[in-house]
């Protein structure tokens, strides 16, 4: 019940905000803020309860199921496990920030804007909860269309191009996934005689391996375009740089994560043998993306485009981790999803704040911001450090876990991926140098952050440091789900990518004398 409540509240909140904006713009903003914060509050309570709960319980925390179109075996089936719970936390957290950050930025069509924003969030929430493939596809589309409008209506100078590019890429790949879903549906029906889209029933399907490869590629297409993986990444820099700040935040922080989530939730459990078969290619492409994204990020002069390419680079770690098929790497992937959402979102917010002040995203026209905006400088420093993977911040934990895990599977690729850390250093420091260091008189005398902006920044910084020093609650939450995801692969994996030594050698714990 709570689960459908999340989605419904966003949809209703969106309509209310739209209607309220006819009378009062501030009211519309408050309605959407309260909607998101309320949901955030509920999900935090859920999380705290879950953390205090018994470890031995099943991976699934909540389950909600209604028949929808029973004739075709379509159900309104939502379920929550640790992974979804973390994704919901991230969604609502970034959702609240995106409302806050567009408080001043959006001045025309405010009602429609908040309607779109909340409906995107509704779609994303649905994607993270849906356990019926038809419903999943439905929400996959729900999050796409309002996002398209967010980019095209409130975007920057070249937003039509970017919005259409984004739409066509995701839609085309989404259709491939639809075909694959239908294929899976009929294959399953052929074998068992029951027509169903239900995830848990399809998990048991025994698909002939030739068909399974094609079906998996259909799913994979949607997810790797969303992630994005080279060579399907080119929609991302355009969409990110043209979207309004909140749009970039949601794109980078959440929409990309739906791709990663799809890999974990569908590809690995449903098509385990095929996933193992393509793993070397998938990892190679991910590692190539790490380096390629970093080099491109280095050459950009548009700040938002630069940050967008860093996303391409960071998402390579997700490919590497998912296809390593071991606990450490997969936990690292979950961490990476969360920390990348926060740190990259933070960089986009930073770019948005600067854009509001000097009306350009061109870093050659920036410089010396530290003098006039020391608060922003300190935050920018922390975000850049997160992006280059400094220990003590969340991204380090994520990337290190992915790399340690990947090392169990492949040495060469892990070495190249680790070199990506040097490349990350180069582009991150370039951001700092071009934006905050140096001395440019044009940037003197700008106002430092307002209270609202400071609040957003402090929340982001604190959460990054918290994730860097105390990642264990997050890892504990996702552990049962990751176990379930991996159990299916561990048995079929003959190459022994899981090192038995790790399990046998117990680490000694010391207590001080």
């Amino acid at each position: 019940m709570i689960l459908s409540g999340f989605i419904l509240s966003f949809m209703i909140g969106g309509i209310l905000a739209w209607m309220a904006a006819l009378k009062n713009l501030v009211l519309a903003r408050w309605i959407s803020l309260i909607t998101v914060c309320f949901n955030l509050f509920i999900v935090i309570i859920l999380w705290v309860q879950h953390l205090q709960g018994d470890e031995s319980q099943s991976a699934w925390i909540l389950d909600f199921s209604l028949p929808w179109i029973p004739r075709f075996g379509i159900g309104f089936h939502l379920a929550l496990d640790g992974l979804s719970l973390l994704m919901l936390l991230l969604t609502f957290f970034l959702g609240a920030l995106s409302v806050l950050i567009s408080w001043k930025e959006i001045q025309h069509q405010v009602g429609l804007y908040h309607f779109c924003l909340l409906w995107v969030l509704a779609g994303i929430t649905g994607v993270f909860l849906a356990m019926d493939l038809f419903l999943f596809f439905f929400f996959w589309e729900v999050m796409l269309i309002p996002m398209f409008f967010l980019i095209i209506i409130w975007g920057h100078e070249n937003s039509r191009y970017a919005a259409f590019k984004f739409f066509i890429f995701t839609q085309a790949s989404g259709l491939l996934m639809l075909v694959a879903i239908l294929g899976l549906y009929f294959v399953h029906a052929n074998q068992t005689g029951t027509f169903t889209f239900d995830y848990f029933q399809l998990l048991g399907a025994d698909i002939p391996s030739g068909a399974a490869m094609w079906l998996m590629l259909g799913f994979l297409a949607a997810f790797i375009v969303k992630l994005p993986v080279i060579p399907f990444h080119t929609w991302l820099p355009d969409a990110h740089s043209q979207a309004p700040t909140a749009g970039s935040l949601i794109l980078a922080g959440l929409l990309l994560k739906t791709g990663a989530y799809g890999l974990l939730r569908f590809i690995v459990p449903l098509f385990r043998d095929q996933a193992v078969a393509i793993a070397p290619w998938a990892m190679a492409i991910g590692v190539f993306g790490i380096i390629y994204g970093a080099i491109l990020a280095f050459s950009q002069t548009d700040l938002k485009r630069l940050v967008a390419y860093t996303s391409v680079s960071h998402m390579g770690f997700i490919m590497l981790g998912v296809f390593s098929f071991n606990m450490i790497a997969t936990q690292g992937v979950v961490m990476q999803m969360i920390t990348h959402g926060i740190s990259t979102g933070a960089l986009f917010i930073l770019a948005g704040i600067i854009y509001e002040r000097i009306h350009t995203r061109d870093i050659t026209r920036m410089g010396g911001f530290w003098k006039s905006m020391p608060f922003l400088g300190t935050c920018g420093l922390i975000f850049a450090m997160a992006s280059l993977g400094l220990p003590g911040l969340g991204n380090f934990v994520a990337e290190f876990l992915v790399l340690v895990g990947a090392w169990q599977a492949t040495h060469k690729l892990t070495i190249i991926a680790t070199i990506g850390l040097v490349a990350a250093t180069i582009y991150s420091l370039r951001i700092l140098q071009k934006v905050f260091y140096g001395n440019q008189s044009a940037t003197h005398g700008l106002a430092d952050l307002s209270f609202r902006e400071k609040l957003v920044m402090i929340v982001l910084v604190v959460s990054l440091i918290w994730l860097g020093l105390f990642p264990q609650p997050v890892l504990n939450t996702s552990r049962p789900s990751v176990n379930v995801i991996l159990e299916t692969t561990a048995s079929s994996d003959e190459n022994g990518t899981r090192n038995p030594k790790i399990i046998t050698i117990k680490q000694k714990r010391y207590t001080h004398e």
């Binding site: 090392w407 001395n439 399990i503």
Partner: protein
């Protein structure tokens, strides 16, 4: 008392957080109170714990688990501290020299806008460095390792408005990160091999798992060496250190002389078990050390900038420490680290005071005659320089360097080449050190003294000068009293160096030759720069290429520029618009071309359409009739 261990790194972190948050709102008086105070209290706690440590009969190993950092499927490093005699030496040096440098900075930086920011960074550095040396596992060590790298970046670029400072800062960060990457890969390998990153466990398991010279152990040792080489500015990653002098002088003293750059020495010493199992890697450590000490020494001979001389000298002295590590003289390396920390911090601080007194003049050839104007600085600088040049008997540097020379010759892993390199290095050191002294303090006065340093600058200098002299007497060589307090202190942890059997009583010969060379170097410097100052100018104009080659640090910068930087920048520049986008754009272009073709037929003129209809009808009729 030992439960307070966590406070040692925590206090500087706390100070840093307060300074960052409150920053500009604090008064000029309360900033140093927090900044200096936090490190001061840390130093006090170190003293208390150190007293406990020494006074107990069996040296204890203190472990303190603060919290579980990560725990995933057997990968479970904690945030846990580990104190043994090696870390005690390091935290002692870090907190005490750190404290003195903080005191010095409270006067040195007082007129700077970023006063609070400076202390925030400095405290952050001290905290990270303490974490590095107190870490119980390699991941936490890596945490501190990267943390000090960040602080080094921030402090080199402290005066961020200058473009070249930002460049130097980035260079330092990126070059050390190259080494760190090797080290990270080493950590992956270690974890895969041992299933843990806990240092004690690794030390216990390594000899069981590997025999001497095992491939895996050698690879791991080389990877760790990569990290050490980056941080300690050894060949081939040494070029960042001279540029790092762009930072304020206290930073150079603390980070780029006394503490951070010795992290590599610490890492190798900490993992000495692994290196002893990998003789190839250990030999390479020695080779890197000896080559670096010569290269850097020659470069130091030609520099103009006072601080750059000291930077090259630091690289060279770190080379000595690596050489010592390479021959298995673990405690000698750590002893030289400690003595070097004293005198090099002293030299940097004194140089900073000189530069401030002359209103930011860095060029030694524009200084001179400061002996009378700045007497305290002159005398302390002279003591530091004597220690660096290892003038015999009266300086601490003599005793620490002598130990390395002796073990390079007599140690089981030593050989005559290592020894000769170290010996000639001693001569070069003496020459460039006294070149610096004579150019700066002797001769005629060329610049006007604008600022006389106050007591907050003088007192740390005097304390360091005393330490640079007296600290040597805690470790005396065999032929000279044989009093080995320091080695014995470290002994349970670090094994003593085994000597080659046939070498017995040549130690005094080595001491005499080393002493003769350092005195000879001093005299040569006196002859060249005081007696006949025209001679070195003649030399410079006789072989300008050689002079420039040495001046620019053997042109390593140009080499890296051509091999790495330029290709990378070129690659990035030509691909700015992302060639992966081309096929997609091509698709778009094809579609819109077809679109234009069809749009052309829709002319809007009615009669064209009619003709179309008629022609179409005729076509269909013809086809119908033909078939």
């Amino acid at each position: 008392m030992n439960d307070l261990l966590w406070l040692i790194p925590a206090l500087p972190f706390l100070g840093s957080i307060i300074l960052i948050l409150a920053g500009t709102r604090l008064s000029k008086k309360s900033v140093p109170l927090i900044g200096v105070g936090s490190v001061g209290v840390s130093a006090l706690i170190t003293l208390l714990i150190g007293y406990d440590f020494i006074s107990s009969d069996t040296p204890p190993v203190i472990k303190q688990v603060l919290w579980n950092w990560i725990d995933v499927a057997g990968f479970s490093p904690s945030i846990a501290l580990h104190l043994d005699s090696l870390s005690l030496v390091f935290i002692f040096v870090i907190t005490f020299i750190g404290f003195l440098i903080h005191v010095y900075s409270s006067e040195f930086m007082v007129d700077d806008d970023g006063y609070a920011r400076f202390f925030a960074y400095l405290n952050l550095f001290v905290g990270s460095m303490l974490i590095l040396v107190l870490a119980d596992n390699l991941l936490l060590l890596y945490f501190g390792w990267e943390g000090v790298g960040l602080c080094s970046y921030l402090l080199i670029g402290f005066w961020y408005q200058e473009e070249k400072n930002g460049y130097a800062a980035r260079k330092a960060f990126i070059m050390t990160r190259v080494g760190d990457t090797a080290m990270a890969i080493g950590l992956f390998m270690i974890f895969k091999t041992f299933g843990t990153l806990n240092i004690t466990d690794i030390q216990l398991q390594a000899p069981v798992m590997w025999e001497i010279g095992a491939t895996e152990g050698t690879i791991i040792a080389f990877l760790l060496l990569g990290g050490a080489v980056g941080k300690s500015a050894q060949l081939p990653l040494q070029t960042w250190l001279p540029d790092a002098m762009a930072g304020p002088s206290p930073v150079s003293a603390l980070i780029h002389a006394a503490t951070m750059v010795t992290a590599g020495v610490y890492l190798i010493t900490r993992m000495h078990v692994v290196f002893e199992l990998a003789p190839t890697a250990q030999f390479v450590v020695g080779v890197i050390g000896s080559v670096t000490l010569l290269i850097a020494g020659f470069s130091a001979l030609t520099q103009y900038d006072l601080k750059r001389v000291l930077a090259y000298s630091t690289i060279s002295q770190l080379g000595y420490m690596f050489l010592a590590l390479g021959v298995g003289a673990w405690s000698a390396a750590i002893f030289h680290f400690m003595i070097h920390a004293f005198f090099k911090a002293l030299l940097f601080l004194a140089a900073g005071a000189v530069i401030m007194a002359l209103h930011h003049e860095h060029d030694m050839f524009k200084m001179g005659g400061l002996r009378k104007k700045l007497p305290v600085i002159y005398w302390t600088f002279l003591i530091g320089a004597a220690s660096l040049a290892a003038l015999p008997l009266i300086t601490a540097g003599f005793f620490s360097k002598d130990q390395i020379l002796w073990l390079a010759w007599a140690g089981e892993k030593g050989n005559v080449w290592f020894f000769l390199v170290a010996l000639s290095g001693a001569f070069i050191t003496a020459v460039y050190t006294f070149r610096m002294v004579f150019l700066t303090f002797f001769g005629e006065e060329k610049s006007h003294v604008t600022h006389i340093p106050g007591s907050f600058i003088n007192i740390p200098l005097i304390i360091l000068a005393i330490l640079s002299t007296l600290a040597g007497f805690i470790e005396l060589p065999h032929s000279f009293g044989h009093f080995q307090l320091f080695t014995n202190f470290l002994n349970p942890l670090l094994p003593a160096t085994t000597l080659q059997s046939e070498i017995e009583s040549t130690e005094w010969m080595i001491q005499v030759s080393a002493a003769a060379l350092s005195i000879g170097g001093t005299l040569l410097a006196y002859y060249l720069y005081v007696k006949r100052p025209s001679l070195h100018a003649q030399f410079k104009s006789a072989v300008p290429q050689l002079h420039n080659f040495l001046l620019h640090g053997w042109r390593f910068d140009s080499l890296y520029d051509w091999v790495f930087v330029k290709p990378f920048v070129y690659l990035a520049a030509i691909n700015k618009n992302d060639f992966v986008d081309w096929p997609y754009n091509a698709l778009v272009n094809v579609a819109s071309f077809i679109h234009r073709m069809f749009a052309f037929t829709q002319s809007g003129i009615l009669r064209w359409y009619l003709i179309g209809v008629v022609l179409g009808a005729i076509l269909i009729l013809t086809l119908g009739l033909m078939l």
